[in-house]
Symmetry: C2
Subunit: 261 residues, 2 copies
Amino acid sequence: MTTYNLSFAGSGRVAGSLCRNLFRAGNRIRQIVSPDRKEGMLLARDCQASWSPDLEFDNPNDVIIVAVPDHELSGVLSAMKCHEASIVAHTAGSFGLDVFPERIRKKGVFYPLQTFSKGRDTDLRDLPFILESSQPGTGELLKSLAESVGGKPYFINEENRRMLHLAAVFVNNFSNFMLTAGKEITMRAGASFELLFPLIKETFSKALENGPENSQTGPAVRNDRNTIEKHMDLLSFSPELQNIYREVSESIITYYNNRNL
Amino acid sequence: MTTYNLSFAGSGRVAGSLCRNLFRAGNRIRQIVSPDRKEGMLLARDCQASWSPDLEFDNPNDVIIVAVPDHELSGVLSAMKCHEASIVAHTAGSFGLDVFPERIRKKGVFYPLQTFSKGRDTDLRDLPFILESSQPGTGELLKSLAESVGGKPYFINEENRRMLHLAAVFVNNFSNFMLTAGKEITMRAGASFELLFPLIKETFSKALENGPENSQTGPAVRNDRNTIEKHMDLLSFSPELQNIYREVSESIITYYNNRNL
């Protein structure tokens, strides 16, 4: 298997997980560039790389993976200095190739469709990597990188990748917040969140097996206004939770009304 | 282990799962009463019971479990005829003991904190059963029934049980709908929902391990208005999804603003 010289801009959750996995897959990690000295040096040490706060990449054979917060991406790409033979790829699902400055010729998107956590070793096997590139050679290389960590590469254009990133917000960010809301309410009932674990596990395994659209239960899908009103009363301690309850319930009612037409 | 004579009012998802599990645990199932002849007879056959559409239970030693849709519960309890020595328990998380008519003396709540599906054999081991009863003997019996299928019994009063039921709506009904929304958007990106499976699995295992309130990522928790606006534009095809996106994002922003105070 071909291995590569890699460098990273960033040492956060995404950079850390990708870098460690790519290192374990046999790639050489050369430079970690990040403003966070502690995280950057830790990651560099783990992957036998060097750390620096300066966005200068000197090896023309490197693939530079830019995994930084979305709002810093454009600034980092503009500020970084690298050889024009280097391939530069960012990991942001909601940005395209147009975020790169003109002078970077070999550019790509290397977007792992996953949620990453600090201190959590995320398994990348079978993980979809959504790829885009400015030219075939770059694309092949990104594909090979994704495969080296057991991932599944997909070439998907910018518009559809942005949609996938949005879908990820719903299934990850929003469903996670529903669990947070459920935990708050459970604690208000004087009970432990663990009481809900079997329900949560079944919710997700059922949705994946039967499709979430076929797994919907509860007062909203039955349009049971009586129970919905009682729940709204119970939520009087939190206008925010009431807003969510109302909006999501109305959406469920509308969705299943239209579906049954 | 003590076993019981059981009868059921209802033959739907909850009744079917409880009845089959209680039968397998060694209890005798006598009568299945339900208006649905096909489902009722099928369940009766599986559990060596008789089926009837008439709400008459003649054995004084029976425990009668009433597992019917919420909006039918009060009507079924009023209409049913049974010996006053029989114990009657309903399975509805959002109803209390006051839904029973006066003449039923031994009454209880036997609420399994789970989502049940037709044709899906739900595992009841370690499942919390939220119990309430009108007198100690009844409570002991319901506890023993829950334990016979491997469940974990909890005596929780009506107010807190209603809260738990509401929490279940958030973690099950609402998070499931977020997956449905994500699936719709994924299909709009021309991609298969399966691309999101690793993300969905990680979302839930992370939330259970680290707590959902510590697992929140995405544009809303960062208060990244730029990405939120871009997502709202992408959702212009669906005012309902826009409403959910706006409301849930605002709730996440508010929640984490307050938390950081």
